[in-house]
């Protein structure tokens, strides 16, 4: 049924109210589940395009960043997965903060604020608004990265180990593993 493709879309983007969210989750049927899965896939593809991490001088170096496909060399490689994830999620959720580097003194503080504002503004532009990246590095752009893919498994290691600890010692039942599955499915495989 198509009662609610719009609601479903909003739900996927986390833009439904508490009440609507509950209603969607209650009424969801198989075909809608399929639709959700398809959309999710489409979003993933788009994330793939939008997920190049953004250098410090984002505004001035936008085109350069897009063509260079340059990942910033100075980020722990595994974090790029998280950061990208955050970028994707930021479209809908103001609760997600993109990469914020600190320790650059005042410049860092002032630059971080626009990043947050951008995250909120982009809520209006889904799903293409993902181009409005909030991931931000405040350090000078490093020389083009070459070693990033090799270092990638670190993210998995840390998440795996944290999930294991959390599953053993927190009272959250299967949640730590569900988190792990979700993150790995989105960004684990290259």
């Amino acid at each position: 049924m198509n009662r609610d493709l719009e609601t479903l879309s909003a739900f996927l983007d986390g833009e439904t109210s508490e009440l609507e969210t509950r209603r969607v989750m209650r009424d969801i049927d198989d075909s809608e589940l399929e639709t959700l899965a398809r959309w999710q896939l489409a979003r993933d593809v788009m994330h793939g395009q939008a997920s190049a991490a953004v250098p410090a001088d984002f505004n001035t170096a936008l085109s350069a960043a897009l063509t260079a496909e340059g990942a910033p060399a100075r980020r722990p490689a595994w974090m790029s997965g998280m950061a990208r994830f955050a970028v994707a999620a930021s479209v809908a959720a103001a609760t997600v903060v993109g990469w914020q580097a600190w320790e650059t003194g005042q410049a860092g503080n002032t630059a971080a604020v626009p990043a947050l504002a951008a995250a909120q503004d982009s809520r209006l532009n889904r799903p293409m608004g993902e181009a409005a990246l909030v991931s931000q590095s405040l350090r000078p752009v490093a020389t083009p990265a070459t070693a990033v893919p090799a270092a990638q498994p670190r993210v998995n290691d840390m998440l795996l180990r944290h999930s294991d600890f959390a599953a053993r010692h927190s009272g959250q039942g299967m949640m730590p593993f569900a988190r792990l599955v979700s993150m790995d499915a989105r960004h684990g495989a290259k």
């Binding site: 989750m25 009272g171 959250q172």
Partner: protein, 321 residues
């Protein structure tokens, strides 16, 4: 035990307690924890993490006295976590496999701590009735008493006590993470075949290091922790031989958990910062000790401000210096 008494007294003074038909909130949580571990069931659920929604399937059974569980990602890429007793493996989308756990650190304590004593930093209330996956449910709230941890909203099956829905909520009541079953089947007749490992291309272990390794001399300590958080586990592992080992220290207040990782940094080329999705935050910070430079990273489900405060207080001591 005093924690239990405190939690109990908190629920007793709450007017919401009047809504409970089945005894104190604490008993319900214990029953839930017990049900989740001891019952056989399969189900499909929606999983919302930040703004991402995925669909997953869970199979759970007790076979030969051991808990078996299999989580399968249904949309997008195929990822699975399979648990057989103390053995936990993660199957990645590229058909490789990582063994996460072995028996060396003792039995898994899924939700066990919750059953044994409710952490003193939370207030637990029975919140009324609800309906999830076509089943009648009891709504509960687990509210933190300070700002250093998230709260939870739980929906428990009236009949089986299984957890049908749960939300991790921040201080303003926004759900950061949500699990909600859309269908659940009790006693589905699962066998060992349901938890068999599929063919994989390659396997890797997050192997423990021998005690003689230099990283073992590193002592990791946090000078400030939120009330109730204690160390839970510690290990030093590396995934591959050619990679520097990373030390890890786990912390938990009984519900929430975070892990602090320390790795040696050869040059100054790593960047500090913070990243967040849903309830999970990752914070990285460089740290210089007499013995060298390190990158300290915290990964966990706690508020960002708390994570940053913890990581500021982390100290590394190298016993060999």
């Amino acid at each position: 035990m005093k924690l239990r008494v405190l939690a109990l007294s908190l629920t007793l003074v709450s007017p919401l307690h009047a809504l409970a038909e089945d005894g104190p909130a604490h008993d319900q949580l214990q029953a839930m924890s017990q049900a989740n571990r001891s019952l056989n069931y399969t189900g499909r659920f929606l999983y919302q993490f930040g703004a991402e929604v995925s669909t997953m399937e869970i199979r759970h059974a007790v076979l030969d006295g051991k808990e078996h569980q299999r989580l399968t990602h249904l949309d997008g890429r195929l990822v699975e976590v399979i648990r057989r007793g103390d053995e936990v493996v993660c199957l990645h989308p590229d058909r490789t496999l990582t063994r996460i756990s072995r028996t060396e650190t003792g039995p898994l304590a899924l939700a066990q701590r919750l059953a044994e004593d409710v952490p003193a930093q939370y207030n637990i209330l029975v919140d009324g009735d609800g309906r999830v996956a076509g089943r009648n449910a009891t709504r509960m709230r687990v509210a933190p008493l300070d700002t250093h941890r998230y709260g939870y909203r739980l929906w428990l099956d009236r009949d089986s006590r299984l957890l049908l829905k749960s939300e991790v909520v921040d201080g303003s009541g926004v759900a950061l993470e949500r699990v909600e079953f859309v269908s659940i089947e009790l006693a589905p007749g699962l066998t060992h075949a349901d938890f068999a490992l599929p063919e994989v291309i390659s396997q890797s272990d997050l192997s423990s290091l021998p005690p003689s390794h230099v990283m073992q001399k590193l002592a990791l300590s946090a000078e400030w922790l939120p009330a109730g958080f204690e160390t839970t586990g510690q290990d030093w592992r590396h995934a591959e031989d050619d990679r520097a080992p990373v030390a890890a220290q786990g912390y938990s207040d009984g519900l929430a958990a975070f892990t602090v990782f320390v790795e040696e940094v050869k040059d100054g080329s790593v960047e500090e910062g913070v990243s967040r999705v849903g309830p999970t935050v990752a914070v990285s910070r460089r740290l210089t000790a007499p013995s060298g430079a390190y990158l300290v990273t915290l990964v966990g489900e706690i508020p960002q401000a708390t994570a940053e405060r913890v990581i500021q207080s982390v100290r590394v001591q190298d016993a060999s210096h």
